[in-house]
Symmetry: C2
Subunit: 184 residues, 2 copies
Amino acid sequence: MSAPARRTGGRSAAVLSAIRYAVEDLVRERGAEKVTIPMVAERAGVNPTSIYRRWGDAPALLNDIATYRLDPERPLPDSGDLRADLAAWAAEIVEHYRKPLNASILRGGSAMAGEQETDCLRNRRAEALLIVERVRQANDGASPVGADEVIDGLIAPIVYRAIFLPWTLDADLATRLVDRLLPQ
Amino acid sequence: MSAPARRTGGRSAAVLSAIRYAVEDLVRERGAEKVTIPMVAERAGVNPTSIYRRWGDAPALLNDIATYRLDPERPLPDSGDLRADLAAWAAEIVEHYRKPLNASILRGGSAMAGEQETDCLRNRRAEALLIVERVRQANDGASPVGADEVIDGLIAPIVYRAIFLPWTLDADLATRLVDRLLPQ
């Protein structure tokens, strides 16, 4: 009984991977805001109906692909030192958006944002909360910063630059922002 | 000789105003990323050629309208107190993006950003530089913050929230951000 299930799993993983590659190629070629579900279906060689059934619309599909690229399951830096952990986490996000494809997907997501928090940013917020929560647990509930300050002080400038000024995403940015957030 | 010139000026101001209203209506109805020059021309009752000649493309037209709405010629707060001036300036920008139309134009601009700094953000940067420069002149070249810190600490979180979390643009945001930027 397990063989057919496994075969189905293999096939659906292959379909998912074809869809991901198709989205990435199309975003690279045309810009995220021009990508439609029929276009992705054609490129991936799958039926548009299966894409509509799983994602509903192109913004949801793009958000999912963007989220996938910065894996929400990846381990977060956890050295016990808040400054080092925030710097490593921020550096990883800067590195992510230095790739033109990821910045382009973010711009496509921006165009369609505003109604509700996107998955991609919800994950960054969950990560900020987790990092702050660990500090609180180690310090009787005290933390030099809250999650809102981490979002405003680190994620907002990185995302702002990724959207509007991608050429300013330099290797030192993460450290500079953390130093401003946590003055020494 | 001055009458025809004046008449032309009046006519071209009326055309400009029709184009601005058309852009604002279309952005409100369809979202900035769907607005095209032929659409604006039809709604404004002008020839598309005159729009192409003046703006070149839809992103440039949208940027110009967005810039116009937060008039770059307006006087900047100048009380001599950096904290008060930054708070008043940031509050004005928060207020601007609390209007759904302005946030929508910003999202449309985001989708098309990344190649070069947009007019709208260049104006905010020029304003940050001006405010910091005034402080330096009054203090033998010293300022507690530079323009980059003002952009990362005030403009980036406001724009980030305007794009992704517009419901968090509350009336206290400007003061909270300035307090973090300039700890007391």
